[in-house]
């Protein structure tokens, strides 16, 4: 009896989670433009999507911004973790408090505050301002992934390497970096995901000229949904499914990516 109840509950939640996505996927193959009539199976909306230059440039912007911002945030955040740990405890706490602000703050406040700053300092809102904004909200995630690893490792092996004649830079590159690699990778992946998924901060910092996938969807939803968006949903879902399945299978061997899943979800 209890078993039936729990199974029914699990199935209901799964239906709730997946039915909306499946609906979009099914309608992406509908030949008709109308959502209310099924006129036959067709790949027309997929063809149209790949010819839509707005869509293609949005996809390009999304991934170029995500890649560059994650890379820059990872470098700055990793260096910052090293520097912060070398400071006095009080200073550390103060800086970590400031570092947590963007994590706890509402997206909309982060977005408008950055927009006000860009405009006040004479920046022209475009791809570059979105990139700067994404780096800003990504750095805290990198620090939160790298810092614990760095604490775990401790200074001993770094000092040992120097005693054995390594220069600080060499010791850092060959001893410290390999030991905190999993934290760095987690930080990079978190930043990348956060950037791809972001809408609100991009919405306020993008200006009129450029779109990412999220802002393009938003503007199209407001004027009327076209089935090309359904095709896009299907493509995104399939890619996410493949990437995460691979990551999930791989994480069976090490707990690193497992941490990543939870940390992303923890926000």
């Amino acid at each position: 009896m209890k078993k039936i109840f729990t199974s029914v509950y699990l199935i209901l939640i799964l239906l709730f989670l997946y039915l909306p996505i499946l609906t979009l996927m099914v309608f992406s193959f509908n030949e008709s433009k109308s959502m209310f009539r099924w006129t036959g199976v067709s790949l027309k909306w997929y063809r149209e999507m790949f010819r839509d230059s707005q869509m293609l440039s949005a996809i390009f912007n999304t991934f170029s911004i995500a890649l560059v911002s994650a890379a820059v945030a990872t470098v700055i955040g990793t260096l910052a973790s090293i520097g912060i740990l070398a400071m006095r405890k009080k200073t550390q706490n103060f800086i970590m408090g400031l570092n947590n602000i963007p994590l706890l703050n509402a997206d909309i406040v982060t977005g408008i505050s950055l927009m006000l700053t860009f405009i006040a300092f004479g920046f022209y809102l475009n791809w570059g301002t979105v990139l700067l904004a994404h780096i800003t909200f990504s750095i805290p995630y990198v620090i939160l992934s790298v810092m614990p690893k760095l604490k775990q490792v401790g200074p001993a092996s770094y000092e040992a390497a120097q005693d054995l004649g390594a220069s600080p830079a060499y010791a850092f590159w060959r001893v410290v970096i390999p030991e905190i690699r999993s934290g760095i990778v987690t930080g990079f992946l978190l930043s990348f995901t956060m950037s791809v998924d972001d809408f609100v901060v991009t919405h306020f910092t993008r200006g009129a000229g450029i779109n990412t996938i999220s802002t393009l969807i938003y503007s199209q939803v407001k004027v009327g949904i076209r089935p090309t968006l359904f095709a896009l949903s299907t493509v995104i879902f399939v890619i996410v499914l493949i990437v995460l399945t691979i990551a999930n299978v791989a994480s069976d061997r090490g707990a690193e990516e497992d941490d990543f899943f939870y940390e992303v979800a923890q926000g």
Binding site: I21, L79, A80, A106, I112, L229, L244, N248, F261
Partner: protein, 270 residues
């Protein structure tokens, strides 16, 4: 060279990307268009239209947080007990939709709930009367629950997985019933997870303008919608900043309350 200098780029970024922008909101929120000091932008929250929007935001965020909690807690318990395949895989299925673009997920509900959409077509086939959910607060709550449910499931599940099974077994051995175990062990020991789940659902629900825009058809005004409009269409940055400050106050208060709850929870256990 001291290691401390490694943090210099970050500190510059922190100043430029967090401290100065926050100061900008503070400046705009406390001045008028001419730059003179005023509290009007803050006090504007007492105007009916803004006060109602804030009230509605708090109400809808509260409702969706409660619904998420009621759905997620039993789910986390079932997942904890389950031996459905590998532990990682089952939780993976429940958080996978989270990686789908947030706007597409919200849009899906618009497609489903639309007048003459799938939902009502199904109802018609079942000979049930049509329901108009789209463009009502109910649709907005539905969207919030759908978008943020995984954020509630994961922390509670993580907290529950940390509970040592032997504690639960010991309780049963000592004669506790199921409800006592739930009330005295599972619930108190998952409070840290519940607290972070509540924050992660409540804050984005309170501040959203996207869900209310897409599923409310521009008729539902949450505080997020008002602020967004002040910055985009009406271009009154001072008012928008003032209202953001008020909204931040509510976020800080709710987070402080949850932090206290978290600490109490752990204290009780010890």
């Amino acid at each position: 060279m001291s290691k401390k200098y490694c943090a210099v780029p970050f500190l510059v970024w922190l100043a430029a990307g967090t401290v100065i922008p926050f100061a900008m909101i503070l400046y705009y929120g406390l001045t008028d268009r001419t730059g003179a000091f005023t509290l009007n932008n803050i006090l504007a929250i007492f105007q009916p239209i803004h006060g109602q929007a804030l009230g509605l935001s708090l109400l809808l965020a509260l409702i969706s947080t409660v619904i998420c909690l009621l759905l997620a807690f039993p789910l986390a318990m079932i997942l904890k007990d389950s031996n459905l395949g590998r532990r990682g895989f089952i939780i993976f299925i429940f958080i996978l939709p989270m990686w789908m673009n947030f706007l597409l997920r919200t849009m899906a509900w618009q497609v489903i709930l639309e007048k003459g959409g799938i939902f009502n077509t199904v109802l018609a086939h079942l000979h049930l009367p049509a329901l108009t959910i789209i463009n009502t607060p109910a649709a907005v709550v539905l969207g919030m629950v759908y978008d943020f449910l995984p954020f509630m499931v994961l922390p509670i599940y993580n907290a529950m997985m940390k509970i040592d099974d032997s504690i639960v077994e010991a309780a049963y051995d000592l004669g506790a019933g199921k409800s006592t175990v739930l009330r005295r062990i599972l619930l108190p020991m998952s409070i840290p997870g519940i607290a972070s789940g509540i924050t992660m659902v409540f804050v984005p629900s309170l501040t959203t303008f996207v869900i209310s825009n897409i599923l409310g058809g521009g008729k539902i005004y949450l505080i997020g919608n008002i602020i967004e409009q002040e910055f985009t269409t009406s271009a009154n940055w001072n008012l928008g900043s003032g209202l953001s400050l008020v909204m931040m106050l509510f976020i800080i208060v709710s987070m402080a309350a949850l932090n206290a709850l978290d600490k109490n929870g752990e204290g009780n256990f010890i």
